[in-house]
């Protein structure tokens, strides 16, 4: 799908989703208007986690084929998921504050698990940055991405087990019967978030590829000494 078509679809779907959130979905019985945060917080979380796992899959491909395009894809997946992760944690915190008066609650296992996963992946770019050799950087980053990807489901399981009987679920709107109007709104929001993620992913890949080609052209036309490639955490083509 062309970037333009993707972008248009994203804008339309997201706008539609937000319209549904505010004009169509009913207010939640317990939480009232605050529950509306759910429609932006949960899709971001789900997409971010998907992105981390996709990053692990691309990392496996990189380790198998050693083609740098897989490393680039892995990097962009993880990078975008980290950005979404910031959004998840902030909106989760706002939700906690609005519902419970505290800026953070340990009672919500998915939010806590997400924090741990986020802290782990936050080390991804510093790790890459600290290895200068490009090939080794890509290899080590892939090893890390695979390990972290295997970690994500285990972590969610462990945290949920630790909380199961002691604390009731606070934001329990995801399981157990959402009314159909809310379901529709949620799915549209999820679709919009997915489209946004895919669009940004395509943009970032295109930008990095373009920059790589410009650099190669510069090297070819101007000679090697014109290029000063500093250390970078991003894969360079």
């Amino acid at each position: 799908m062309s970037l333009r078509a993707l972008s248009t679809a994203t804008v339309v779907t997201l706008t539609g989703a937000f319209a549904l959130v505010f004009f169509y979905a009913p207010n939640d019985a317990d939480q009232g208007f605050i529950q509306k945060i759910f429609y932006v917080h949960v899709p971001m979380a789900m997409i971010a986690l998907f992105g981390f796992v996709a990053g692990a899959v691309c990392a496996i491909q990189h380790l198998r084929t050693r083609e740098s395009k897989w490393d680039l894809r892995s990097y962009v997946f993880i990078h975008l998921s980290l950005i979404l992760g910031v959004g998840v944690l902030i909106t989760g915190s706002i939700w906690a504050r609005a519902s419970w008066g505290h800026w953070w609650v340990w009672d919500e296992p998915t939010l806590v698990s997400f924090l741990i996963v986020f802290l782990l992946y936050a080390c991804y770019q510093p790790l890459r940055f600290s290895i200068e050799d490009r090939a080794r950087q890509a290899r080590y980053a892939s090893v890390f991405a695979v390990t972290a990807g295997a970690f994500v489901p285990l972590n969610f399981l462990a945290v949920r087990l630790a909380q199961a009987y002691t604390h009731p679920r606070v934001f329990a709107t995801t399981d157990g019967g959402l009314p159909p109007k809310m379901q529709l709104t949620f799915y549209v929001a999820l679709l919009g978030m997915t489209l946004l993620y895919v669009t940004l992913w395509r943009y970032e890949i295109a930008a990095k590829l373009a920059r790589g080609r410009v650099r190669a052209l510069k090297r070819k036309l101007g000679g090697d000494d014109r290029i000063v490639v500093g250390r970078s955490a991003a894969p360079q083509l």
Binding site: I34, Y203, A210
Partner: protein, 77 residues
């Protein structure tokens, strides 16, 4: 139906904040892309200069010697 939409009490502020965070993230990302695009355009301008007047900078002969057009494809070791 519109009356349900926006009670501007305490709850409304938090919800608005959450959605604004989402919006801010997108806008920050777009602006960073914008900066990168500008840098790309500058680079392309330089390249255009180099292409039209190759003798003005380092001789293109040097580039031809070392030149591997696919310089940037990753693992070279």
């Amino acid at each position: 139906m519109i009356a349900d939409a926006l009670p501007l009490d305490e709850a409304g502020k938090y919800v608005a904040a959450a959605y604004l965070v989402f919006l801010a993230l997108i806008l920050i990302y777009v602006s960073i892309m914008g900066v990168r695009l500008q840098r790309l355009q500058q680079d392309l301008d330089e390249l255009l200069e180099l292409a039209e007047d190759p003798g003005s900078q380092r001789p293109a002969a040097r580039a031809a010697e070392t030149g591997d057009p696919r310089t940037g494809t990753g693992a070279q070791r």
